[in-house]
């Protein structure tokens, strides 16, 4: 859950900020909290002295902002042109099937979340996915399934301990 102190800390860095700081502030809030909570959005609106509806309007416009916490392992699947031509649709489908969620969602145990991105910018190594910032090149549905299962195994054995 979002702790108000974290948001306050971000806002402290932006005292006397104006409207043009809205997006950077939201980005920093998300970096701290992992997502934009309702409380945080209201707090930011008050700080910048703009209506909360405007904050919500901006936050929903951009793909980067999330309104739900992400999973412990955040899987980014690239759906750029090169990745598409090389079969990223199958990779996404496999990922959704294995985890039982659709893109944009988080599994109930909070371990995994899937996000689709327009392009990661590693087209020469398509198709590409990134798990918690670590890139995996030339991925196939089977390779991804294995990656996910490996993570799950480690998590399960950690939980057992």
């Amino acid at each position: 859950m979002s702790s108000p102190s974290k948001v306050d800390k971000v806002l402290e860095r932006h005292s006397f900020a104006k409207r043009d700081k809205l997006i950077p502030i939201l980005q920093e809030v998300q970096a701290e909290d992992g997502y934009i909570s309702k409380a945080a959005a209201l707090r930011v609106a008050k700080h910048l002295n703009i209506p909360a509806s405007k904050v919500y309007g901006v936050a929903t416009f951009y793909n980067q902002f999330r309104f739900k916490p992400v999973g412990k392992h955040h899987i980014l699947i690239c759906r750029g042109t090169a990745c598409h031509v090389k079969g990223s649709a199958g990779v996404l489908k496999m990922c959704e099937e294995v985890l039982g969620i659709t893109a944009g969602d988080t599994t109930r145990d909070g371990l995994f979340s899937i996000e689709v991105v327009a392009c990661i910018g590693a087209c020469g190594l398509a198709p590409v996915v990134s798990i918690n910032g670590e890139f995996h090149a030339k991925i196939t549905p089977d390779k991804l399934r294995k990656l996910v299962e490996d993570i799950r195994k480690t998590e399960n054995s950690n939980a057992a301990k």
């Binding site: 409207r19 951009y62 980067q64 042109t81 990745c83």
Partner: protein
């Protein structure tokens, strides 16, 4: 390289002695720069250097493990060697890349240098003194004695036809060293401009060079600057557009990751030319490494007095601010980008007024693409005539393309304007992978078009590409082979544009949604289709082209106006594929799985019931140990039976 020595001296020739002294002393410790600069360029080495390409793509290919292996090797063998993380020389298919340079010997590059082979490769250089042949990519021209039996990197087919201008130093230099950049002539052009040229002269020089915007539009850069210069205002802005949203393009990322100072210098020169004291770099948040390197570059440039107030006594002030984009394709459009910087939804504004007259915060603003800025310092340094000598009549200089898709050698390719597409795909790219046949190349991202085999000889420049319904765009080049379905590609782009449409104007918001629906209807299976559905499908097909025209003519911004291009271009060259989908209900490339007819080969089926259990529509009937059968009326062609079958008994046609 001797020309580098010259360029430091040449650029600084006309500037006041005090500024020259201050700058050289800051960079090299004294006004005598020759030896220091050669050392920084690593022309004379006292110990070996190992370079690892750790751009985003390199890391994706496993460069982090290579780096670790290299460090371990140095430790284990007690070597005297430095490890340097560099950007990417652009040959993505060969990554991870590792170069080794011994004192007095030419730098030699290895490909596919993953963590497990890196120690052996290092041993082949340090111990055997014969670089492992099967991994050698080539050796560099300069830097010392040549290796025997090692080809030159410049003769490698991927590099032979390239002309590296913007990417000259990417993958070669340490992106985090401002001193190395200065040693290679960096910031000389900037100091030359602010001390010896008026803003108008700087605009003239860029206009004379014939440089046109590399972001897609192709507007003459010098002209844009002049309009902003002649607008009277107390504050002006210059913006570097690094919001590389085009799926399939990554040259801006690589240029900033591998050589941030070159871009920064271009921005600084542009700022002076239009009298702007504030510059913004609007960069995608998806590029963390590029942001990190650019931040370091800006803070180093500040420390060296190249940014800030009264730069080297010239009276010119400049502040550079990084703004992170938040993931909206439309923000690549300049007026939408400005709205985003102002903290609003990234929606375009009607033009005119153009940004050069009234832009960011209502002030005159120039927006240029990363690659455009990457050209500027060399234009000043080498003179506009040298730049204008490259390329064709209307398109000067070079263009960087991100070559990807089903081609053997993927990567970043910089070629002089006027090179044929065939040379890029077949000579540089090495043709189609797995020996399949070439079908088309998609150029220019979602706003661009496809070019078929019949026009593969076309010259790459702004005008020629327009004649075949494509455009330069930002430089994505996605190669497609016979297994790529062009209707599916059009659908992919429409889906992308529909999602990224900002929603401000109706033609784009509703029109792209309708177009996507029509394409989806074409590529769907028809089992159980009702008469009304069939009618809707056919009326859609008949209206597809008209709808495209309406969207093109009535949308507010460039995104909407070019939104139908993927459909129009594939219709123009691959109408037969559309017709096969519509009339024969077949996907010739076999890519649209929904249209496939699945059958079970009774001879191969062992009756394991695996497919039966997995079938979401209970379309498979049969008993254990008896061959199964698919009821085609019930089948939705999801392909799950083919995936689970262990005996390869399920086939599709």
């Amino acid at each position: 390289m001797p020309q580098n020595n010259d360029s430091i001296g040449r650029n600084l020739a006309g500037i006041p002695a005090s500024a020259r002294k201050a700058f050289l002393t800051r960079a090299f410790g004294s006004e005598e720069y020759a030896a220091g600069a050669a050392g920084l360029r690593r022309e004379t080495l006292s110990r070996a250097v190992i370079y690892v390409g750790t751009g985003t793509c390199g890391l994706a290919a496993g460069a982090a493990k290579t780096l670790e292996a290299v460090r371990n090797y140095i430790k284990a063998n007690d070597l005297q060697a430095d490890v340097l993380e560099v950007g990417c020389i652009g040959y993505c298919a060969a990554e991870p890349l590792m170069d080794v340079q011994l004192p007095g010997q030419a730098r030699v590059g290895f490909q596919r240098a993953t963590g497990d082979v890196a120690p052996a490769l290092l041993a082949s250089v340090f111990k055997d003194k014969a670089p492992a042949r099967e991994y050698v990519l080539g050796q560099f021209e300069d830097g010392g004695k040549k290796w025997a039996k090692v080809p030159l990197l410049s003769e490698h087919p991927f590099f032979a036809k390239q002309l590296r201008f913007v990417l000259k130093h990417v993958g070669i230099v340490d992106p985090n060293s401002i001193r190395e950049h200065i040693a290679r002539g960096g910031y000389g052009a900037f100091l030359k401009v602010i001390h010896t040229m008026t803003p108008a002269q700087a605009c003239d020089a860029v206009e004379a060079s014939g440089l046109r915007g590399r972001g897609g539009g192709g507007f003459p850069t010098g002209k844009k600057w002049k309009i902003a210069l002649s607008s009277d205002a107390d504050q002006k802005y210059i913006i570097c557009n690094a919001d590389e949203g085009d799926p399939g393009a990554f040259m801006d990322r690589s240029a900033i990751e591998g050589d941030p100072h070159r871009i920064l210098e271009g921005i600084a020169i542009g700022a002076y030319a239009i009298h702007a004291s504030k510059a913004y770099v609007y960069i995608r948040a998806e590029y963390p490494l590029a942001i990190k390197n650019l931040k370091k570059a800006i803070s180093d440039a500040k420390a060296f007095g190249l940014l800030g107030e009264n730069i080297y006594g010239s009276g010119f002030d400049l502040d550079v601010i990084i703004k992170m984009g938040a993931g909206a394709f439309v923000c690549g459009e300049e007026t939408a980008l400005m709205n985003s910087i102002e903290g609003r939804r990234g929606m375009p504004r009607p033009r005119p007024p153009y940004p050069a007259v009234r832009g960011l915060f209502g002030k005159p603003t120039v927006i240029n693409n990363v690659e455009t800025f990457g050209n500027v310092s060399e234009i000043i340094s080498q003179g506009p005539a040298a730049f204008a000598a490259i390329g064709t009549k209307g398109s000067k200089g070079t263009k960087v393309f991100a070559l990807s898709g089903k081609v053997n050698r993927t990567g970043l390719v910089e070629i002089p304007m006027g090179t044929s597409l065939k040379e890029i795909v077949f000579d540089i790219g090495g043709g189609i992978e797995n020996g399949l046949a070439f079908k088309a190349v998609q150029i220019g991202g979602p706003s661009g078009g496809c070019i078929p085999m019949s026009h593969i000889d076309i010259q790459v420049d702004y005008e020629s590409l327009k004649t075949v319904g494509a455009m330069m765009g930002s430089g994505g080049l996605v190669v497609m082979d016979e297994k790529t379905c062009m209707v599916d590609v059009a659908k992919f782009f429409m889906d992308f544009i529909k999602r990224e449409s900002c929603g401000k104007c109706i033609p784009c918001r509703e029109g792209t949604l309708r177009m996507l629906e029509i394409l989806k209807a074409i590529t769907r299976h028809r089992r159980g289709e009702k008469d009304a559905d069939a009618l809707a499908r056919f009326s859609g097909i008949m209206n597809l082209e008209d709808l495209s025209q309406v969207i093109r003519e009535t949308s507010l911004c460039g995104l909407g106006q070019t939104a139908p291009n993927p459909v129009l271009s594939t219709l123009r060259w691959f109408r037969d594929e559309y017709e096969a989908h519509i009339f024969e209900r077949k996907c010739p490339a076999g890519a649209c799985t929904e249209m496939l007819e699945f059958t079970i080969d009774a001879d191969k089926c062992k009756g394991c019931t695996l497919c039966m259990k997995g079938c979401p529509t209970q379309a498979i009937v049969g008993k254990p140990k008896v061959p199964h059968y698919i009821i085609s009326e019930k089948c939705i062609s999801c392909g799950s039976c083919r995936t689970v079958c262990k005996f390869k008994a399920v086939s599709a046609a």
